[in-house]
C-alpha cells in the first residue's frame, strides 16, 4: 500500500512541473503585466510613467529572462518558499494556506451532503423505476440541475435578506459548524446531488437486472438486505469516482458561491489573482489544485478495494 502511494506521488511530480511550466509561460508571455495593471486599471488620473514601471519591474525581478525566472521560482518552491504576491506584497503561502482550508472544508461538507442526500434518493428512484415516486425524485433532480450556482446564490441571498430580521443573514465564513455554511452548502450541492442521484439511479436499474440480485430475491432475502448488500455495493464504485471528481470541481471552482456568500476560499483568490495577473498566486493555486486532483484520485483508488474486493485482487495481480 505504502509503495503504491509513494509511486503515485513520484508520478505526480513530473506532471506538476509540466503544468507549472505551462502556467508560468502563459503568465509570462500573456497580455497581462501585473505591474502595468496596477496603474492601467486604476481610474483615469493615475500617472502611467513607463520609467517608474520599469523600476518596479526591475526591483521585482520581472525583467529577467523567462527560464531564469522560472528556475528561480522552482528553486524557491523546493525550499518551501512560494514567494510574495506581485500586487499586494503578501506572502503567497499565507494567502493560499488561509484560503485552501475554507474551500476544502466546504468541498468536503458538500460531498457529504451530496452523498447523504443523493445516494439514498437514487436508490429509491432506481428501485421504483417509472413509478410516481421515481418521476418526482427525478423531476426534482432535473430542476435542481437546471439552476446554476450563479443564479441560485444571489437569489437565495436576496430572499433571505428581504425576509430574515436584520443581522441574522448568514454571510462570510464561520467554520463548518456555523449556520453560515448552510446556504453555500445548499447552493453548492444542487448540481452534484442531481448528478449523483441520476447516476445512482441508472446504476441501480442496471444492477437490479443482475443474476445475483434475482437469485437473492428468489432465496427470499429481505428487500432491504438485497438493496443494501447486493445492490448498493456495486453501485457505489462508479459513484465514489464521480464524487471524487465533484470534490475537485467544488474545491477549485466554487467561484460564484464564494463571491455571493463572502467565503474567503480558493475560488475567490483565483479570480483576484487572474484579474491582476498575479502569477505567483496563480502558480500556488495551480500547485494546490494539481495536488488535490492527485490526492482525490488516490483516495478513490484506495477506497475501491473496500467497496469491491475484486479491485484489490486486480491491484495485487498488477
Amino acid at each position: 500500500m505504502l509503495a503504491y502511494v509513494l509511486r503515485r506521488l513520484l508520478l505526480w511530480i513530473p506532471s506538476v512541473i509540466l503544468v507549472m511550466l505551462g502556467v508560468y509561460a502563459l503568465a509570462f508571455y500573456g497580455a497581462g503585466d501585473p505591474i502595468k495593471l496596477i496603474f492601467l486599471r486604476a481610474p483615469g488620473d493615475v500617472a502611467y510613467d513607463p520609467s517608474k514601471i520599469e523600476a518596479i519591474r526591475d526591483q521585482a525581478g520581472l525583467n529577467r529572462p523567462f527560464l531564469v525566472q522560472f528556475g528561480s521560482y522552482m528553486l524557491n518552491l523546493v525550499q518551501g518558499n512560494f514567494g510574495n504576491s506581485l500586487t499586494s506584497g503578501r506572502s503567497v503561502w499565507g494567502m493560499v494556506s488561509a484560503a485552501a482550508p475554507v474551500s476544502l472544508m466546504l468541498g468536503l461538507c458538500a460531498i457529504v451532503v451530496t452523498a447523504v442526500v443523493a445516494i439514498p434518493l437514487g436508490m429509491i428512484a432506481g428501485m421504483n423505476q417509472n413509478s410516481r415516486l421515481d418521476y418526482t425524485i427525478l423531476g426534482t433532480a432535473v430542476t435542481l440541475w437546471a439552476i446554476p450556482a450563479y443564479v441560485a446564490g444571489p437569489l437565495l441571498m436576496v430572499i433571505l435578506l428581504v425576509f430574515l430580521p436584520k443581522g441574522s443573514v448568514p454571510y462570510g465564513w464561520g467554520g463548518v459548524f456555523s449556520v453560515k455554511i448552510i446556504l453555500p452548502l445548499i447552493v453548492l450541492s444542487f448540481q452534484p446531488i442531481a448528478l449523483i442521484l441520476r447516476q445512482t439511479r441508472a446504476a441501480v436499474i442496471e444492477v437490479m437486472n443482475e443474476d445475483y440480485v434475482r437469485t437473492a430475491r428468489a432465496k427470499g432475502v429481505p428487500e432491504h438486505v438485497v438493496a443494501l448488500r447486493h445492490i448498493l455495493r456495486p453501485v457505489l464504485t462508479p459513484v465514489v469516482t464521480q464524487l471524487g471528481l465533484i470534490m475537485i470541481t467544488i474545491v477549485n471552482g466554487a467561484i460564484f458561491v464564494e463571491l455571493v456568500f463572502g467565503l474567503p476560499g480558493l475560488g475567490r483568490l483565483t479570480v483576484s489573482a487572474l484579474t491582476n495577473s498575479d502569477f505567483p498566486v496563480i502558480l500556488a493555486i495551480t500547485l494546490i489544485g494539481s495536488f488535490l486532483v492527485m490526492a482525490s484520485n488516490l483516495l478513490v483508488d484506495l477506497l475501491y478495494p473496500l467497496l469491491d474486493p475484486r479491485a484489490a485482487d486486480q491491484k495485487e495481480a498488477r
Binding site: 481610474p43 483615469g44 526591483q59 500586487t87 444571489p154 435578506l161 443573514v169 474567503p264
Partner: protein
C-alpha cells in the same frame, strides 16, 4: 464528629471552590455589564467594501483602500467639501516670489498614534517613501512631480528627494523644478499621507510591511487600524487616543468585504450595514434613496475618448460624425436615469472656469453626422473598420456604450461595434486596434489649468495613451501659459477656457457625465461627505442617528 486537619488560616477546598465560583460569576456579570456599557456608549459604523482588498498600506495612492485613507491618516492639508483648502499637518505655506520654492510650517501639536510628535523629517520621509518605486504609489506624481530630485527617487536611482529640506524648527522647504503657483494645493490630499518614518521606512528606504497597524502607532489620523483580516476581508478601526484634531464620535468602524453588488445593496437597504466604499449601479437612487448617493460635484468627469492614431478615428470627419450622431441627453438617461451624476458638455467640471458661456456644446445633429460620414475618406458606414470600445466595466458603462452603439446604428448605419472591459480582453491584433476608451479625467486641485493639463495636454497620460498621442500646439501653449499664472489671477481661468474651446474643435471625445462624489451612506449616517480627493472630509464627525 469530623475533624478537619487543615492548618489554621489555610484556605479549605470548599472555600477555594466557592471563591472560584464567585470569581466566575463576578467576571461574567462584569463582562456582560461592560458589553452593555460599550454597546450604549459607542457608535459603530458598519461599512461594506466591494473587494477583498489585499493591500491596505495608506501609501498606495489608489485602489479601493485609498478611499478610507482620511479615516486613519493625516495629510499635509486637505480640501473640504466646498473645495476650500484646510490646514492639517502643515499649517502655513509661503511661496517664493517666482513660485519655484515653497516653505511650510509643521503643526506643532501634530502627533502620531503613539503620541510622538510629527516632525518635518517625518513629512519629508513620508513623501520620499511614497515616491519609491517599490511603494507602487499610483498618484504620487500629482503631488511631487514638480519637486526637484523626485524623478531620481521614483526611477529607483535614489532614496532622498534633494529638493525637500526638513528643518529642526518644523519648517519644510520645497524647491521645484519650475514655478508652480498652486503647488500648495497639490499637497492637499491623501495620496502621500504623513506616517512615522522611523517605523515605516526600512534601512533600504523602502516600506516596512504592516507598519500601519495600530500596535506600531505610526499613523496619524483620527482612527487607527486595529485589526485587518485580509483573508476574510474584515477590518476594524478604533479611535486614535493621541489624535491631534477633533475627538472622533464613533467608537469603532467595521469594514466587511461584500463583492456582490446585489447582496451589498440588500444589506444596506435592510440597515444591516450603513455605508459602502464605492457602490456604482444604475439603480442606486431607486434602491437606496437619493440621499445615499448624494454628494458634491467633484472635478472629475467621464467621457468616451477617441484614439486619433487609429482608423477610422484618424479622419476628423468620422470623429465629428460619431459625436454628432449621439443624443447625449438620451445617453445620461440611459446610464444614470435618477442621478447622482449629471450630463456634461465639456472636459472641466466643478472648478472655477467650468461655467464657460462661450463654450458651444456638441449638438445632436444626425443629418449633419450622416453627411460628414459620407464626406469622409471612408465614404460611409460600410468601409469603416469595426469600432472597438474598452473600459466598459460596469452596468452603467455598458448601458452608455450600448446606447452610443445604437445611436450610430440608427443614424449612421454602423453595425460593427464591439466592447470589452479591458484592452487585453481583445484577442490578437484587435488589442492594438481599439479606438474608443471610456475613462475619467480629473484633478485633485480646484484648478481648470491643472485639470486640462492632466487630461488634454500633450504630456498627459490621457492624451498619450487614450487619445493616441494627441497634440495641439495651441492648446499646449495656452495651458502652459495658464499654469504659470497665480491661482487668483483671472487670466489663469480665461486661458484654460480658451484651450478647452480649441480642444473641442478637434472632436476627440463624446462627453458623458460630471461626477458626483457620493456619500455612499444611509440617511441616518451623518458626516460622510467627501471631497475632490474622494476622501471623507471630516471622519471625526461621522455619527449615526
Amino acid at each position: 464528629m469530623k475533624v478537619r486537619n487543615t492548618p489554621q488560616g489555610a484556605v479549605t477546598r470548599r472555600a477555594a471552590l466557592q471563591l472560584g465560583l464567585g470569581s466566575i460569576v463576578a467576571a461574567t456579570a462584569f463582562g456582560a455589564g461592560a458589553r452593555i456599557v460599550i454597546a450604549q456608549e459607542g457608535q459603530v459604523l458598519k461599512a461594506i467594501n466591494p473587494a477583498f482588498s489585499q493591500d491596505w498600506s495608506p501609501l498606495r495612492g489608489g485602489g479601493v483602500p485609498f478611499r478610507w485613507n482620511s479615516v486613519w491618516n493625516a495629510s499635509a492639508m486637505y480640501f473640504n467639501e466646498k473645495g476650500e483648502i484646510q490646514p492639517y499637518v502643515l499649517t502655513e505655506w509661503t511661496p517664493s516670489a517666482d513660485f519655484a520654492s515653497w516653505t511650510f510650517k509643521v503643526n506643532p501639536a501634530a502627533t502620531f498614534a503613539d503620541g510622538s510628535p510629527i516632525t518635518a523629517a517625518d513629512v519629508k520621509g513620508s513623501w520620499e517613501l511614497s515616491a519609491m518605486p517599490a511603494t507602487k504609489n499610483q498618484r504620487v506624481d500629482q503631488v511631487l512631480g514638480n519637486v526637484a530630485g523626485y524623478a531620481a527617487v521614483k526611477d529607483g536611482a535614489g532614496t532622498d528627494i534633494s529638493g525637500i529640506v526638513a528643518g529642526e524648527d518644523g519648517t519644510l522647504t520645497v524647491t521645484l523644478t519650475g514655478p508652480d503657483p498652486i503647488f500648495f494645493q497639490r499637497l492637499a490630499n491623501h495620496i502621500a499621507p504623513v506616517v512615522k518614518v522611523s517605523v515605516a521606512r526600512g534601512a533600504d528606504g523602502n516600506e516596512v510591511p504592516d507598519f500601519f497597524m495600530a500596535a506600531n502607532g505610526a499613523t496619524s489620523g483620527p482612527f487607527m487600524l486595529d485589526s485587518a483580516n485580509l483573508d476574510t476581508g474584515e477590518l476594524v478601526w478604533l479611535p486614535n487616543p493621541n489624535f491631534f484634531g477633533t475627538k472622533p464620535v464613533l467608537a469603532r468602524i467595521e469594514l466587511t468585504a461584500v463583492e456582490d453588488n446585489v447582496t451589498a445593496t440588500q444589506m444596506l437597504a435592510s440597515g444591516e450595514y450603513q455605508a459602502h466604499t464605492e457602490l456604482v449601479t444604475s439603480t442606486i437612487a431607486q434602491d437606496l434613496g437619493a440621499e445615499f448617493a448624494a454628494g458634491p460635484e467633484i472635478p472629475t468627469s467621464q467621457h468616451f475618448w477617441f484614439n486619433a492614431a487609429r482608423a477610422p478615428m484618424d479622419d476628423p470627419k468620422v470623429r465629428e460624425a460619431l459625436i454628432l450622431a449621439v443624443d447625449r441627453e438620451g445617453l445620461i438617461k440611459a446610464s444614470f436615469p435618477d442621478g447622482p451624476h449629471k450630463k456634461t458638455d465639456m472636459v472641466i467640471n466643478a472648478v472655477p472656469g467650468a461655467d464657460d458661456a462661450a463654450f458651444v456644446p456638441f449638438p445632436h445633429d444626425p443629418e449633419r453626422a450622416k453627411a460628414l460620414l459620407a464626406e469622409s475618406t471612408y465614404g460611409g458606414p460600410d468601409k469603416l473598420p469595426k469600432l472597438l470600445f474598452v473600459g466598459i466595466s460596469s452596468p452603467a458603462n455598458e448601458a452608455a456604450a450600448q446606447y452610443i452603439a445604437e445611436q450610430w446604428r440608427q443614424h449612421l448605419g454602423i453595425t460593427a461595434v464591439d466592447m470589452k472591459p479591458q484592452q487585453d480582453q481583445y484577442a490578437g491584433p484587435d488589442q492594438n486596434a481599439v479606438q474608443i476608451f471610456r475613462d475619467d479625467v480629473g484633478t485633485r486641485v480646484p484648478d481648470a489649468a491643472s485639470y486640462l493639463n492632466g487630461s488634454i495636454g500633450s504630456g498627459s497620460g490621457n492624451a498619450q495613451g487614450k487619445m493616441g498621442g494627441y497634440k495641439n500646439d495651441k492648446v499646449d501653449a495656452l495651458i502652459a501659459e495658464a499654469l504659470s499664472k497665480p491661482s487668483d489671477d483671472a487670466a489663469r481661468v480665461a486661458l484654460a477656457q480658451e484651450a478647452q474651446r480649441l480642444f473641442r474643435d478637434d472632436y476627440m471625445f463624446i462627453p458623458w457625465y460630471k461626477q458626483t462624489m457620493s456619500r455612499w451612506a444611509n440617511a441616518n449616517v451623518a458626516g460622510m461627505e467627501k471631497n475632490l480627493d474622494w476622501q471623507i472630509v471630516a471622519p471625526w464627525a461621522i455619527s449615526i442617528a
